[in-house]
């Protein structure tokens, strides 16, 4: 057998004339690689033609080209490569199309916010408040073509402080609830009730949470009790269910063997939870908490009814009104500082929106970093 093969290969290599280029018979009935690009180019040309006939617009052009490409690519593949591959091609391109459609809003939002927000971002905007900035000043800057006065420093401080307090309230409550649910309450009526109410809490509209906090503190401190901590309580009402859910899921995936190993060493349950179970799950818990923060940092309605609106810097969450970035944006757009010259306010709003997106993005990055730092160590 091997002798035959050797002889054959000797013959082949001994042959001085170049071998006749023969298509691999295993690759028969396949479209060449360039074909799909050719179909794409054709579809775009035909799409352009049709869209011009019906009055040109970019959206119509893109939609026509995509539909023509989908039909042409799957029909040609079916004809050349067979029914199964034709179906495969159709679904593949449909999935790509769905992906692109899903990306359009995201890219569009990012583009718009960057385009409109970037001009407003400078050190003045970042480090000064709206204190003393009036409609007259805005009118003057527009008239003189000067840079916009007034920034979002107070709102950034407000966002950070209120979110920090909301986190301080909801992380212990949420984590302890999750520990009870997973480690102590398995199958008990109380834990079923808690799970049910946590699910209900997940669905609470944020304005209701805000009204709850406002009414609760109104009962204790009298009406018009508006300050940062009330807003923090409102946000924690929204955060707690998220923290409970994510922590619960993380604790559930800690292998039972680890708990048993710890018990078998004569370690008490609470120490096992504190020293074995939670450290094993901490990376997931930390990223869950960060994502919960990212969720509430953009809330507007509950802040408006609990912390009000402020234009000056307020570092104390226990007294006076406070602004956050979302309420700052809302206020700048809805009631521009100068009703006749709204451009400065619009610019501030977009800059604040960009800042908010950057903060949420930073939080997500921090979540990943935290997760990788706390993850169980690998290596030998």
């Amino acid at each position: 057998m091997s002798a035959t093969t050797t002889r054959l290969s000797n013959q082949a290599s001994g042959n001085s004339t170049p071998p006749v280029r023969k298509r691999n018979s295993l690759a028969k009935g396949k479209l060449p690689k360039w074909a799909i690009w050719a179909i794409a180019a054709g579809s775009i040309i035909i799409g352009a033609a049709i869209s011009t006939l019906t009055g040109f617009s970019v959206a119509a052009f893109a939609i026509y080209s995509a539909i023509i490409f989908l039909i042409a690519a799957s029909v040609i593949t079916t004809v050349v490569e067979g029914k199964r591959r034709g179906k495969n091609a159709m679904w593949t391109y449909l999935i790509y199309a769905a992906f692109i459609v899903a990306l359009i809003p995201l890219a569009s939002v990012l583009y718009t916010v960057l385009q409109k927000g970037l001009p407003g971002i400078n050190s003045h905007f970042l480090f000064s408040s709206m204190n003393g900035v009036t409609g007259a000043i805005d009118n003057q800057t527009v008239a003189n073509g000067e840079p916009v006065i007034g920034g979002a420093y107070h709102a950034v401080i407000g966002t950070l402080l209120i979110t920090l307090w909301a986190t301080l309230i909801s992380v212990p409550v949420g984590m302890l609830t999750a520990v009870y649910l997973v480690e102590y309450g398995q199958g008990k009526a109380l834990s079923k009730a808690i799970t049910f109410f946590v699910d209900v809490m997940t669905g609470i509209p944020s304005i209701v949470a805000g009204l709850f906090a406002a009414a609760f503190f109104g009962m204790i401190l009298g009406p018009n009790a508006r300050m940062g901590i009330v807003a923090a309580v409102a946000l924690s009402v929204l955060m707690i269910p998220t923290v409970v859910r994510s922590t619960e899921e993380m604790l559930k995936i800690v292998p039972n063997e680890l708990r048993e190993a710890s018990f078998a060493l004569g370690v008490r349950r609470w120490r096992t939870i504190l020293k074995v179970v939670i450290p094993t799950a901490i990376s997931g818990i930390a990223s869950g908490v960060t994502l919960a923060i990212a969720r509430v940092i953009g809330e507007t309605a509950p802040i408006l009814v609990t912390a009000g609106i402020a234009s000056q810097i307020n570092m104390n969450v226990f007294a006076n009104w406070m602004s956050t970035l979302p309420t700052f944006i809302y206020y700048q757009i809805l009631t521009p500082t100068s009703p006749t010259n709204i451009d400065p306010s619009v610019q501030r709003a977009w800059a604040a929106a960009l800042l908010l997106i950057l903060m949420v993005m930073a939080l997500n990055l921090i979540a990943r970093l935290v997760a990788s730092i706390f993850a169980p160590k690998k290596g030998r």
């Binding site: 048993e260 018990f263 370690v267 120490r271 074995v276």
Partner: protein, 259 residues
């Protein structure tokens, strides 16, 4: 060290299901006792009742007495944590704590309980326990590396080191070699022979050759059928069980003519 265990007429339940019925057995100190029997006959379940790990499973409970040198493990006012610190356990699959280094894994029983231990005492304990588990020479240069980076057999010996570091009187082993290769199995079996000098060892195994190699006494458990409780059929010297069993069922099982 090394206490005896006497079990009187023990019934083990999962909620209402009777899993093991009427077991009475006397385990001598400083001996190796092997539990053999077909899958599902309750030998692991019974083993877990010997250090009150059975009740960790929701619905798990027992009736009867387990005496550790005369003290009833299930007596009123007995703290299961005290029991478990005197009767250690090694599990079927190696389960070192993934967040801890090799050293911390060995010290887990001490540190997790919040006991203060000086650095030199800790180092001594780590070396002694790892030597006791025949692992010292393999890991002495990487004590600060994670325990999960070791091979399966090394991980299992790490778990044994972790168990002997809390200085128990009895060590229970639940099929400690079933996830290991023959070389690692041999290492563990050698270790069991050495552990016998200081501890009372009880081992559950599916491997009859292993029972014959390592144990002084062997208990054969069997089950009449699915849904029926497991029972202790015969308990005797290992040589007697394998060469001259009294019960027909034992003879069928050890000679491979079972089922």
């Amino acid at each position: 060290m090394a206490k005896r265990i006497d079990v009187n007429d023990l019934n083990v339940y999962y909620s209402k299901f009777l899993a093991v019925e009427g077991v009475s057995i006397n385990i001598e100190p400083k001996s190796v006792t092997a539990f053999i029997g077909p899958s599902g006959c309750g030998k692991s379940t019974f083993l877990r009742t010997l250090n009150r790990m059975h009740e960790v499973i929701p619905g798990g409970r027992v009736e009867g007495q387990v005496l550790l040198d005369g003290d009833d493990l299930y007596g009123a006012g007995v703290d299961p944590v005290t029991v478990r610190s005197q009767i250690g356990m090694v599990f079927q699959r190696p389960n070192p704590f993934p967040t801890m280094s090799i050293k911390d894994n060995v010290l887990a029983g001490v540190k997790l309980n919040g006991t203060k231990i000086s650095r030199s005492d800790a180092d001594d304990l780590v070396e002694k326990s790892l030597r006791g588990a025949n692992l010292w020479n393999e890991v002495k240069d990487r004590l600060d590396k994670p325990g999960s980076g070791l091979s399966g057999g090394q991980q299992q010996r790490l778990c044994i080191a972790r168990t002997i570091a809390v200085k128990p009187d009895v060590i229970l082993m639940d099929e400690p070699c079933s996830a290991l290769d023959p070389i690692s199995t041999l290492a563990i079996e050698d270790l069991i022979n050495e552990l016998k000098n200081d501890f009372t060892v009880v081992i559950v195994t599916h491997n009859m050759q292993q029972a014959a190699r390592v144990s002084d006494k062997t208990a054969f458990f069997n089950i009449a059928g699915t849904g029926k409780p497991g029972k202790l059929i015969e308990f005797n010297d290992t040589t007697a069980i394998f060469s001259n069993p009294e019960q027909k069922a034992t003879e069928d099982y050890v000679s491979g003519r079972f089922g």
